[in-house]
């Protein structure tokens, strides 16, 4: 057994020194509940598509919209909670900023839910211009406006968060470049090398800050257009902005969540996660790749310049190299013959890296233009991102939550924890694989009603979805019960 306390801040259950710790725990509890609720929405969609439950299309598309934005929001918030929690060990963060982000996000959520379930907005989470303004008479401009305002509130909250983390990183390290470890990479300088958490936080601060600003711009334009249609924007430009923002934001959630792996796994292996030149180089490449790769969402917009599509394809593949050859490879190396103790926390964190690595395969394949022609906008697309999220990001989050509420003596993956893990993993993996099979069977995405040839897969998916929900519900109950007694 190789649990070690690497320093005084890392003793079991010692969460001293984290500003807004209450806000972080509230984020996790609320997000956990939102994730379970959104999974129930997802189950409803599958039941409806499979013809097992009658849901009017208008309600299906509302539920679909809520499911999408709910999951994206929960992923973003939980990633941010993880980043804040661990970054507080290395830089001086200001507590009220986190609470402001949480408050603004909650206000945004209220607006978003009201827009959907009170005023009928059903534009999908991606609000693809000009659909919010041109619903075909299904919702009023005001419904779309409240949805977009809700997004704006969440975006402002996140921007405050990143301004604060950026400020604190610069205060401590002198510049974002130093915080990203570039002196080590470029000159081999060994002075004051930032730990992995700092490198990751600095990179995400930069790229997600940019993504959110672009998102705010297109949300702003969309809002104005709702009430002054003469103020229009080129639909292709809007699409570029929306997919840039959306891609960057959802990727940021997993690039933040992996910080939990960097910080927690060493406590089990006794091998600190090292900021090497390779590590810094991988994150520097990631900074560039995450910003450049978004054209892989536009490979069927043939009016896009050819070079942009090639960038989308090539950078999609290239993004896999830091992931597989650095994060995943390092994890495997750190685990090897480490005398590792497996409990729910370590099992979920390692599962998260598996989900991220394995999920990249259908993603990278779909980013090839020739493949994208027959896979884009089929269920292959949600197939790959559910892999990233259900088996990747969310597994890391639940792992962090399990670690936060661990017993101080060495627990093992056994009994109830093993059962809940097995139920979740079986359900989750089966569910995402069926999504991929459906996509390969040419089933289009975002259809409220499925054709008879497609519903067999839906029926089987429902079973796996229910298992995954049961597993997550067990994790949530465990967290809430234990967090209530935490010091």
């Amino acid at each position: 057994m190789t649990d070690i306390a690497l320093d005084a801040h890392r003793a079991p259950r010692d969460t001293g020194g984290v500003p807004a710790l209450g806000g972080v725990k509230l984020t996790l509890a609320l997000s956990g509940a939102v994730i379970v609720l959104m999974m129930l929405f997802g189950l409803t969609m599958k039941l409806a598509q499979g013809g097992l439950v009658a849901v009017e299309p208008i309600y299906f598309y509302q539920v679909m919209t809520a499911h999408g934005i709910g999951m994206v929001g929960a992923a973003g918030l939980t990633g941010a909670a993880i980043m804040w929690f661990f970054l507080a060990r290395y830089v001086a963060l200001t507590g009220w900023v986190y609470n402001a982000m949480l408050g603004l996000s909650l206000a945004g959520v209220v607006c978003i839910l009201a827009s959907i379930f009170v005023w009928g907005f059903a534009g999908a989470w991606t609000f693809l211009y000009p659909l919010p303004a041109q619903s075909g008479g299904v919702w009023e401009p005001g419904a779309a406006a409240i949805y977009l305002l809700g997004l704006m509130l969440v975006g402002v909250g996140f921007l405050l968060f990143y301004l604060e983390t950026g400020r604190a990183l610069i205060q401590r390290y002198g510049s974002l470049g130093r915080a990203m470890g570039w002196p080590l990479l470029l000159t081999g300088e060994q002075d004051d090398v930032p730990p992995p958490t700092v490198v990751a936080s600095a990179v995400v601060t930069l790229f997600n800050g940019l993504g959110i600003v672009v998102g705010a711009a297109v949300i702003g334009i969309s809002l104005i257009n709702l009430y002054a249609p003469e103020f229009a924007i080129d639909a292709l430009l809007a699409k570029n902005m929306i997919y840039f923002f959306g891609h960057v934001f959802i990727n940021a959630s997993i690039y933040m969540a992996v910080i939990a792996v960097y910080e927690i796994i060493p406590q089990y292996t006794g091998r600190p996660w090292k900021t090497s030149r390779v590590f810094v180089g991988a994150w520097a490449a990631t900074l560039l790749f995450v910003l450049a790769v978004y054209p892989h969402h536009l490979l069927q917009d043939t009016v896009m310049p050819g070079w942009a599509m090639v960038v989308g394809q090539v950078v999609s593949y290239a993004s896999g190299i830091p992931l597989i050859a650095v994060t995943t490879f390092s994890l495997i190396a750190y685990l090897h013959r480490s005398g590792m103790r497996w409990d729910l926390a370590s099992a979920l964190l390692v599962t998260g890296v598996f989900g991220w690595s394995a999920g990249s395969i259908p993603a990278i394949l779909d980013s090839m233009i020739v493949v994208n022609k027959v896979m884009h906008n089929t269920l292959w697309v949600p197939g790959h991102f559910h892999f990233y999220l259900l088996i990747g990001e969310v597994a890391m989050v639940w792992g962090f939550m399990a670690w936060l509420t661990r017993e101080s003596t060495g627990e093992r993956l056994a009994g109830a924890s093993a059962t809940s893990y097995a139920i979740y993993f079986t359900g989750g993996l089966g569910f995402v694989l069926l999504f991929l099979i459906a996509g390969a069977s040419s089933v289009p995405r975002r259809w409220a009603v499925h054709e008879p040839a497609w519903i067999g897969i839906d029926h089987i998916s429902v079973v796996f979805a229910a298992l995954a929900i049961a597993g997550f519900a067990m994790f949530l109950v465990r967290f809430v019960r234990r967090a209530g007694t935490a010091p």
Binding site: T302, G320, S357
Partner: protein, 169 residues
């Protein structure tokens, strides 16, 4: 194509799963890692991934997948999308002839997906307001083909379908 991609995906996902499973099994024993060997293996993996990437990129982009120029002998079909129906300038298309689809939308983004008689997606492109997307295709098999909407466009997105025939001339 879809079957091959699914097979390759499942194979590679399976490979990643096997690697992780082996790693979990090897984690419970004790031993010091050979750091030099680890870093050497990492570099080899990076090089291998880069080489595979170059080869796959080259092979998959030649010929350019979106070649869609109008030329002699090419039949043109104009496709216009609106909430929630399709307008096709021709409903009969000759087989074994290059067909150029000019696709646009009256209102919001739609996606024109062309399905063969067996329900397999052959190709697609986006239908957008203010731009014309072009895609060229040669149909080999005569029969009834379908147009399905691939880009969420509102309430009747799932009902936005049409048909055309490919005929042997």
């Amino acid at each position: 194509m879809q079957g091959t991609i699914l097979f390759v995906s499942l194979l590679l996902i399976g490979l990643v799963a096997v690697v992780f499973a082996a790693s979990v099994l090897a984690s419970t024993s004790h031993g010091e890692p050979n750091k030099q060997a680890v870093e050497k293996n990492r570099v080899q993996l990076m090089v291998a991934l880069a080489v595979i990437g170059f080869v796959v990129t080259y092979v998959s982009l030649r010929p350019w997948p979106h070649e869609a120029e109008a030329s002699e002998g090419v039949v043109t079909v104009d496709v216009t999308a609106s909430q929630w129906s399709w307008e096709l300038s021709r409903k009969e298309i000759p087989a074994a002839t290059p067909v150029l689809f000019n696709v646009q939308s009256h209102d919001v983004n739609h996606g024109v997906g062309i399905y063969d008689p067996q329900g397999v997606l052959l190709f697609q492109t986006q239908a957008m307001p203010g731009v014309v997307n072009r895609v060229k295709y040669t149909f080999r098999e005569p029969g009834a083909y379908r147009v399905l909407c691939m880009e969420y466009c509102g309430l009747a997105h799932h009902g936005m379908t049409d048909e055309f025939k490919v005929i042997q001339e």
